[in-house]
Assembly symmetry: C2
Homo-oligomer: 330 residues x 2
């Protein structure tokens, strides 16, 4: 079977993890081209992953187009221009989360995907993990009844140095877009778009959100209590409670959890569902990208364009309430 | 040493637990008198706990006054009249949480305590437990730095039968006053009165809150994410995150936790602090009541009148946002 060919934009640590996981995809995968604004980074990545071509200019990278799809793994303030350039060249795009930094930018990318009939997927890789599918199956099988409460936290104490993008407003820093998007994704996946959003947070002297705390309420009466932080480090678990039972995704819930625990109230015991897979788990997302690209679909129906838009509209509203504004980009 | 004498109002299951724990108090304790509107309940309790006198009429109970203090353990819609009657008779009062059902009633009781120079304490028994003191000591010792986030949940799937006070608006039902008061207490203890309160919830057909979800924000930038429910049953843990470390009070955080876990970010290990005591733990609260009554203090400075008022004002605001109104009593 012919190998599926990737171009990589932004050869940082995430791109390295992504490249490492390609060996676990059922169909052969190769990286044929890499782009970085720093030649030494592009070259180092090319050597490490045996990539024949590297570039520092996106137009040259796109013109040569020696790949079936690109994976964009740069800081998120760069995603918009890079994704737009690729979509307008008809190149299928898998772009790291957050897709871009506000809903207007998402709308532009969706429009570009539609007019160019070109695949676009936000790289919320955990959507495709067996752990998240297990949760969805348990809910589908009515193991916990109607979902009433989603609680999830994503906090990581980031080193406070000048190079750290987390504290840099010019790189779209703060906890929300990088980390808070995970719990926001989970609540949107399980409960949809909230009827009401309330947020609180703590800003850094530079005006990025060091913490965000979010309460969503839904017409059904359900709620979500979500949190992200770059100044604290708490247990990375998520709990989904229904009227018949409760699911706990053990730490780290947004990567490979130690387990998923199901407790049905009517049975006085807990069921522990293992979460095991090889590598970090990017292969599941890659399988979905290939399936869509081969079928000439412009979105994945597991994480469609409007789902990205819903999430970004929510993040915009949270940022509005927190008074976090990325002046350079908005 | 002469025994400290208790009168009990409302000999239900909590009063039984209270009575059982009296043997763990350093000074001898006796229950000399019990009051219930149902004679059979009063009599059964009197027999079980060797109580010489039982009553069905509060005026007779108060007039005889064969005790040093009363413990009120009736449903909370009855607390106001009973506590007021006792305070106006100059009888020291320990009254189960919630003290009453709204802030106006708290103000009346504080006024009665003040004009009668009579002790009054809301029975938030966990305030006096070694577990909560351990948390306060860790924070005092700066183990976790400045408190940034408090997350706590108290959910209990109550049987939905007609006798169940949890679903009965005429008994002040709902999750908030009975269960939600615990997480609200914890956040007030650690962070004070919130600058902003936002609540969401799910109401029963009878208009009591089956769930409440609360976001508090504070001037310092700290936040609290709190939850209570009578239709779900989730992990009863609490997590307090600071900029230097995090404390997790393991389940059941609001009773006798399996442990308290301290994690200092700078040290790459967890410290597990045991929580062990005999009985349920009412003895610690009782010791404080006796100390105050003997010293002729009208409040405990560990849980003063205005702390009860702050909490009740918060609960009033949450109820206002949830549209929960106890028509019969307000």
């Amino acid at each position: 079977m012919e190998a599926f060919k990737w171009g990589i934009i932004g050869p940082g640590s995430i791109a390295n993890d992504f490249a490492d996981d390609l060996k676990y995809v059922s169909r052969p995968q190769v990286i044929t081209s890499v782009l970085s604004h720093r030649e030494e980074s592009a070259k180092a990545f090319a050597e490490k992953h045996t990539v024949p071509e590297y570039y520092t200019d996106i137009n040259a990278f796109v013109s040569k187009r020696n790949f079936d799809a690109v994976y964009i793994a740069t800081p998120h303030t760069l995603h918009y221009e890079q994704a737009l350039t690729c979509l307008n060249a008809g190149i299928p795009v898998l772009c790291e989360k957050p897709l871009v930094i506000n809903a207007d930018q998402v709308r532009d990318l969706i429009h570009a995907a539609e007019i160019n009939k070109c695949f676009l997927l936000e790289g919320m890789w955990i959507r495709f993990l067996p752990s998240i599918n297990t949760v969805l199956e348990l809910i589908e099988k009515d193991k916990i009844g109607k979902v009433i409460s989603v609680k999830a936290s994503m906090s990581y104490k980031a080193p406070r140095d000048e190079d750290n993008r987390y504290f840099n407003p010019e790189l779209g820093g703060g906890s929300l877009l990088d980390l808070g998007i995970y719990p926001v994704f989970l609540s949107h996946l399980l409960l949809g778009k909230p009827a009401k959003i309330t947020a609180a947070g703590k800003l850094s002297p530079d005006g990025v959100d060091e913490t965000s705390a979010i309460l969503f309420s839904y017409e059904s009466g359900a709620h979500a209590l979500l949190e992200s932080s770059i100044i604290t480090q708490s247990e990375l678990s998520a709990e989904i409670a229904g009227d018949k039972g409760v699911i706990k995704i053990m730490s780290p819930w947004n990567e490979k959890p130690s387990a998923i625990i199901l407790k049905e109230y009517a049975r006085n015991e807990e069921e522990e569902l293992p979460c095991e897979w090889v590598g970090r788990g990017f292969q599941y997302q890659v399988e979905e990208v290939i399936r869509c690209v081969e079928a000439n679909e412009i979105y994945s129906n597991l994480y469609c364009h409007h789902f990205s838009l819903d999430i970004m509209e929510t993040l915009d509203e949270v940022r509005r309430q927190l008074h976090v504004h990325y002046e350079k980009f908005e």
